[in-house]
């Protein structure tokens, strides 16, 4: 038990630290590297939550593909001089920070205040999960499945290709469109504002 707890705190530290690093570094390359760190941390968080497949995808897609993309684009630009990394307006900067802070406070406060709600809702399932670790359903629904054991991935696949198959296909179309669109965008010479 204590390892789980320690693990959580460690990962939380890593994730938040590298997240902060992303925005605090002035050199975007460092930011990108910090982002990789954060991604890996998030993947690890997924593992602690038992979502192994998602964790794997997270590593492959984010830490792999997306980050490579970022870094490659960064390499395309020559971005050594980065004097003003933050937006400078005093009032608007302050406003932004205040709003971010308020937002954080509200969300966290909300979560803390709503604890009773979640606990009440989940008392049964949490208790059941910790006690028997067996398949349990909350409301008798077919799709509410045990998330703890390793056939989790299989269940995930079943649900993905049965209940959410439309969304899946739609995403496929979307990705195709995106692929074409990206190529088109990158090829164009500056769109409608192009100087000829």
């Amino acid at each position: 038990m204590i390892t789980d707890v320690l693990m959580f705190w460690f990962l939380a530290l890593v994730v938040l630290g590298s997240g902060l690093a992303v925005i605090l570094f002035t050199n975007p390359v460092y930011s990108a590297l910090s982002l990789v760190m954060a991604m890996v941390g998030v993947a690890a968080v997924f593992v602690t939550l038992g979502a192994y497949f998602i964790a794997g995808v997270q590593l492959i897609v984010y830490a792999g593909a997306v980050m490579v993309l970022f870094v490659m684009v960064l390499m395309l630009f020559d971005l050594k001089r980065e004097t003003h990394s933050f937006a400078a307006g005093k009032i608007s900067g302050a406003l932004k920070l205040i709003s971010v802070g308020l937002f954080a406070g509200l969300v966290v406060g909300g979560i803390v205040m709503s604890q009773g709600y979640f606990v009440k809702e989940n008392e049964k399932s949490l208790g059941a999960a910790s006690a028997t670790q067996s398949v349990n359903t909350v409301a008798g629904s077919q799709t509410n499945l045990n998330v703890v054991n390793t056939d989790n991935t299989k269940v995930l696949g079943t649900v993905l290709f049965s209940k959410h198959v439309f969304g899946f296909e739609a995403l496929g179309v979307l990705l195709t469109v995106i692929a074409v669109g990206t190529v088109a965008l990158a090829r164009s010479k500056g769109g409608t504002h192009a100087k000829h």
Binding site: A87, K96, F103, G110
Partner: protein, 643 residues
Amino acid sequence: MDHSLLMAILLLSPLVGFLINGIRYKNPTANLSGGIATAAVAISFISSLILVADLIGMPAEARKIHVSFFQWMAVDSFKINAAFYIDQISAIMILVITGVGSLIHLFSIGYMHHDKGVTKYFAYLNLFVFNMLILVLGDSLLTMFVGWEGVGLCSYLLIGFWFSDKEKAAAGMKAFITNRVGDAAFLLGMFVLFATFGTLNIQEMNALAPTTAEASWLGAITLGTLFLFIGATGKSAQIPLYVWLPDAMAGPTPVSALIHAATMVTAGVYMIVRLNPLFIVAPNTMMVIAIIGALTAVFAASIGITQWDIKKVLAYSTVSQLGYMFLAVGVGAFGAGMFHLMTHAFFKALMFLGSGSVIHAMHEEQDIRKMGGLKKYMPITHMTFFFGWVAIIGIPPFAGFFSKDEILWMSFHSPLGSPALWVLGAIGAAMTAFYMTRLMCLTFWGKSRVPKSVHPHESPTLMTIPLIVLGILSVVGGWVGIPEVIGHSLGDIPNLLEHWLHPVIKPIPNLTEAEHSMEWMLMGVSVSLATISAFIAYHFYVKSPETPEKIANSIKPLYNLISKKYLVDELYFGTIINPLINGSKRLWMFIDVNFIDKITYVISDLVRGGGGVVRALQTGNLQQYAMLIGIGIVIALSIIIMR
């Protein structure tokens, strides 16, 4: 032959002529186009002859040929058929229209021979005849109105026939718009009568007309007939809407003969005669008609004395003679009105054609000061014009004498008339004799003032034949209506016209037995007045040409006023037309541009001002937008949580 077929031929033959000539409007050959057009009208004339012959064959009380082609319009209780009927009144009209019409068409072939637009001209002329026939034959006021506007339209086209001349185009427009004023009143009259009788069918209305006279000025029939009469003042050029007719002389001369002398301008008189059972029960209207008619007769004749343009003289003469017709119908002598209408059609058409012949010979010169002594160059024209002259000034036994005398007698004798009207009529007759003699003297007699460059010559046969025919008609035309008093003393010659019209004309109420001695006396007075003034005119313009100038100089202001047509045109422009145009400009600037649009601008400025305030938020900074979203979320979340 079947009546409806004949009627269709009568009506459609000119229309077909119009369509044929209309399609080949660019063709410059006068003989062919004129031939087609004349044939079309001649066919109409023949079929109207057959129809009238049939009509004569019927018993006197049942003389009526009614043909309905199709239902034109039907809305609720308002039903109008495309139906036409010939009775004793319209029989005279169709004979005059198609008969005189064919003669004038014939004349036009010669007159318009060299004009490039000759085919178009004949097309218009045929269209005019078609519309005139509809006007005359229509069995309801609305069908009549169709022809009424149609002839106005043709008149517009023909007055402005030489449209490249601005003045002539303007004259056409003036004619149409002045007529429109009358037409608007005609519409109102129709509305009032429809509201009263529930029908616009002329026969039905005549049958429904009450037997007792309506005393009130605002009674439905008085109001309706008054409006119709205003319509008639437009079409028949009476005070106050006569102004277009003198200007209408801008058209080709045969047009003036056909439209502005013989047929169209008499439509108003004809309409009143056709509706005589209605008019006779509205004595107030009758009074107005008689007064306007008498005034117009004198007023126009006085202007005629001072004019130098041969056609203008004839135009004012026409206005004046139309005044006589209205005087006649105004005092209830509908038969006399129709009679004068007919004789006037003969002699005035003759004089217009004669003037056309003169103008043709003088190479488009219309100023009578540059004529004189044309008698020896143009004997036939002179001879026929002479017949017209004696007819119009009322020398017995020529056509004008009988009709004019009957009008004057009735204006004195009828209970609707008065001695004052007779006096006006007699003065008018004297003036007529004066200016007509003046015209004769200056044009045909006396010394020649023709410029050297012009070589007058007699017109070709094609033009003289109609003149001769009309000349004969001017002489004998009056014999169909010899007044009873003369007929009696000559051995019981019947008044054919009066007998013919008797079944369709309502008698004048309270008409007393005529005193023959009085009638003879008045006749003598008017004829001697006319003779004397004709003699004076002859003396002035042939014997001592300098006298009229002296007289004119001695009464210079009055003379100038009259020769400038009493400044009526200027008055209308000054008080109605120009203020209307300037007022409209101001109205537009004030209401549309400065008021309504201003209001919208004020509103739009308000909106724009408001937008300017909000605009500051749109910095274009992406992150600021994101921040605003963030703030929004914060607010929304706080509301959700705090609640």
